[in-house]
């Protein structure tokens, strides 16, 4: 009996192999970035932090050291960047499309603020605090303006003066 099973299974295998279009060239396939990201996300464990004064958010910035005094040169550049890239949705002192950055460092860590600026798309999808802000803004997502880490640092310095 066992032999028969093996024969039958072998027959099936041969048939399937004959049918598989063997012998043709392999096709190169490249996975789209969303698939790569999704596969990576499945592997990674998530432990969402909750305290807004300790959470650093999600993104490239893990540690920011704020100078004791405010760097005026950075502030000027940061203001120019803010006016160009952010002002369409953020007024400095009152809620507009999104929240006002005034006194932001009393509500968030500097790392969180920079990650929010640099990586808003992932933040509003995954970071619990960012998700909450999204809900408070009626679902108006924050636009990714392709801000570099260096630029975000300058914007942060500007926020310290508000």
């Amino acid at each position: 009996m066992k032999k028969l099973t093996t024969i039958a299974a072998l027959a099936l295998l041969m048939v399937v192999a004959a049918c598989g279009g063997g012998g043709t060239e392999e096709r190169k396939t490249v996975k789209t970035p969303d698939v790569v990201a999704h596969e990576k996300a499945i592997k990674e464990e998530k432990a969402p932090p909750i305290d807004p004064m300790t959470s650093k958010g999600i993104g490239p910035v893990s540690e920011v050291v704020l100078g004791e005094t405010i760097d005026q040169g950075m502030v000027e550049e940061g203001k120019a960047l803010f006016d160009k890239n952010c002002a369409a949705c953020h007024k400095t002192d009152k809620k507009y499309i999104g929240p006002a950055p005034k006194d932001i460092l009393e509500r968030r860590t500097p790392e969180w603020v920079m990650n929010m600026i640099i990586n808003p798309t992932e933040m509003v999808q995954k970071d619990p605090l960012a998700k909450q802000v999204l809900a408070e803004s009626n679902g108006a997502i924050m636009a990714d303006q392709n801000i570099t880490e260096d630029q975000a640092r300058k914007i942060l310095e500007y926020f310290r003066t508000l």
Binding site: T5, A11, L12, I141
Partner: protein, 657 residues
């Protein structure tokens, strides 16, 4: 019992599987249409799973749609339609103020053309992924599409031309793309009797230079030719680099009922042009400068705006005064395609009224020229002896040969229009290796890189003229069909059939990795030099000067600024200059106004576009974003107050007040 059931199940399964991959399904539809394919194997070959990219970009000409459509291969998925010669309301192309100049000619604004041959730019005889060129047949023009943006970057008009068909084939390093007249005309144009065609009408072959840095095109020179029809062309490569070959028909020079009258001669010619020699004559000043008006329309990517440059003169070479530039190779019978193999050794002329293919040898041609062994001359141009230049004949058994492409492994593939098939044959021995039907009436065919020095000889696409019963019927008008074949084995295998936009007249394809890394995601707002750009919401405003109103508007998810405008009157010309402040990939915003007699704007991140609106009635007119941009897209809207002439309040432009 349990074990027996298991065995039975396996056997039953084993018996059903072969049916699943049998050649014909039992319902008979595939057999009836001749689509005898191994379905499961074919499906595996063309299946690009969700989350995977295609291996090749294929650029299909839209034919009479005037556009280029971009497909992925092997899936046949449509990726984009690039508007080129025809206006496109979807993208505002030819409707917004920035792209209107691209369609300007010396005949005025032309909103349509017939686009036949896409041709990728080349470096060292290989497609380099920088540009794709395409000809406008009807009002003779050549366009250049930038493959970092997949947008039309330039359109050049061709003077002294009628029916730009043999175009825009490239030289090895895109030193030139060429253009030849399918319809000879009086040159210079004049009012004369059509019956005086013979000897008085002329053809012209234009050599359009392509600036290596910016891609800018201009006409370097034209060769003035006898009044034949110049049908197709291809550049020499390798040893034949420096030459360009054009087919001719109607060497009879008939002007009426060409169906009959242009098919009288046993042989017409392939015109071989030594363009390096022509360059020498140009350097020596042996050209005539002819008064010829034409426009060059260039789109500036930073200004986001096209501009027309008017030219008044063109350099013309007369072959009778420039010996060594043009030779005629006799070729039977009304040759259509002229194709040069990857080594540059063979020039294949497909005499469309002939069953056989004629292959000329480049080496033999050079030898015959050196020996000055001429059969005679035509209008002062030396005609070589057919026997001196022919390398071989492919006795195909097919009917109506049109075009040939190559797989880089010593094989050639030729389409036969009348017998609806592709024939694979061997270069050098001229033996037929395989043949396969197409559905139906194939014109061009395309192998990725198949007219270059290094083809990717993996797939072949048949571009068919007739569709008939291939797809679910859609009334009298049917989308044209393309068929994808696997050519890696000894036998060609049909693996996919897909409809195309307009007419897939000719196509080119290139490995995706030559395009993907250079594909632009956004336009930098920083680099935007549009004269009416608004780079931040604080600069938004309305300027009114008499009846001309300029609204400087911005978009970002999900609002316009300003979104309330008052002070417009009936009779005003209102220009909306809309800048998209987004700097993230795939976040265009649309803009449309009720009653606009143009189209929408579709503004890419960092771009500025302008819509002209001329309100006809007083009232309050809404406008809105047409491209679904965010969860609050439906909220992205605004109002314009239009007053009767002389009744408008002061101009105001506000957001959130």
């Amino acid at each position: 019992m349990n074990r027996i059931t298991k065995i039975m199940a396996i056997i039953a399964l084993a018996m059903t599987v072969p049916q699943g991959c049998s050649n014909n399904s039992n319902d008979g539809t595939a057999a009836k249409k001749g689509g005898a394919i191994n379905k499961s194997s074919a499906a595996e070959k063309v299946y690009v799973a969700p989350g995977e990219y295609d291996e090749f970009y294929a650029f299909m000409s839209g034919g009479f749609s005037g556009q280029i459509s971009v497909y992925g291969l092997p899936s046949g998925r449509l990726l984009k339609v690039v508007p080129v010669f025809s206006v496109d309301g979807e993208k505002g192309y030819g409707f917004n103020e920035e792209t209107k100049p691209l369609l300007e000619t010396t005949h005025g604004f032309i909103p349509w053309d017939d686009a036949h041959h896409p041709e990728l730019s080349q470096t060292n005889g290989k497609p380099d992924g920088k540009y794709i060129f395409i000809n406008g047949n009807n009002t003779p023009r050549v366009a250049r599409i930038d493959l970092t943006t997949f947008e039309t970057a330039e359109i050049i008009e061709l003077p002294n031309a009628g029916g730009n068909h043999s175009s825009p084939f490239t030289t090895e390093n895109s030193e030139y793309v060429v253009a030849g007249t399918r319809f000879s005309v009086p040159i210079p144009q004049t009012d004369m009797s059509i019956a005086e065609y013979k000897g008085k009408f002329k053809g012209s072959l234009s050599f359009i230079s392509v600036d290596p840095e910016h891609g800018h095109m201009d006409i370097d020179f034209q060769v003035l030719m006898p009044g034949y029809d110049y049908d197709l062309a291809h550049g020499g490569k390798g040893k034949s680099h420096g030459w360009m070959f054009f087919t001719t028909y109607n060497t009879e020079e008939s002007h009426t009922l060409k169906e009959v009258n242009a098919s009288q001669n046993d042989k017409d010619y392939i015109a071989a042009i030594n363009w390096k020699k022509a360059q020498e004559y140009i350097q020596q000043g042996k050209f005539k400068e002819m008064d010829s008006e034409y426009l060059i329309n260039r789109y500036d990517e930073n200004k986001h705006m096209a501009e027309s440059i008017k030219k008044n003169k063109v350099r013309v070479l007369d072959p009778t005064e420039c010996p060594g530039v043009v030779y005629f190779l006799p070729t039977p019978k009304s040759p259509h395609g002229v194709d040069v193999d990857p080594t540059g050794s063979y020039i294949i002329g497909n005499g469309k009224l002939n069953a056989n293919l004629t292959v000329h040898s480049f080496d033999k041609m050079i030898q015959a020229i050196e020996n000055e062994s001429f059969a005679g001359e035509a209008y002062g141009i030396p005609v070589l002896n057919f026997e001196d230049v022919v390398a071989g004949t492919v006795e195909s058994g097919g009917l109506g040969p049109l075009h040939t492409e190559f797989d880089g492994q010593g094989n050639a593939y030729t389409t036969f229009f009348i017998s609806s098939e592709v024939v694979k044959w061997k270069l050098g021995t001229w033996e037929v290796l395989d043949r396969i039907p197409t559905y139906y009436s194939v014109g061009h065919l395309m192998i990725p890189g198949g007219d270059s020095k290094e083809p990717w000889g993996k797939y072949m696409v048949a571009l068919n003229k007739i569709t008939k019963d291939r797809y679910l019927p859609t009334g009298p008008e049917l989308a044209h069909s393309a068929q994808l074949y696997d050519i890696t084995g000894d036998k060609m295998e049909l693996i996919l059939d897909f409809p195309t936009i307009g007419e897939p007249h000719y196509a080119q394809a290139i490995a995706a990795d030559l395009i993907v890394p250079n594909s632009k995601k956004i336009y930098s707002l920083e680099e935007n030099t549009h004269p009416h750009a608004t780079k931040s919401e604080s600069e938004t405003r309305v300027e009114k000067n008499g009846n001309e109103v300029h609204i400087y508007m911005t978009t970002i998810r999900s609002h316009f600024a300003p979104d309330n405008v008052e002070g417009i009157e009936v009779g005003d010309k209102v220009y909306f200059h809309v800048t998209n402040l987004e700097q993230d990939w795939d976040v265009p915003h649309g803009f449309s106004v009720m009653g606009a007699q143009t189209a929408e704007l579709l503004i890419m991140p960092g771009q500025t576009e302008t819509l002209l609106w001329e309100p006809k009635k007083p009232g309050v007119i809404p406008f809105y974003c047409t491209d679904f941009c965010s969860a609050l897209h439906q909220e992205m809207q605004g109002y314009l107050r239009v007053s009767a002439k002389g009744q408008a309040p002061a101009v105001t432009a506000t957001t959130g007040e």
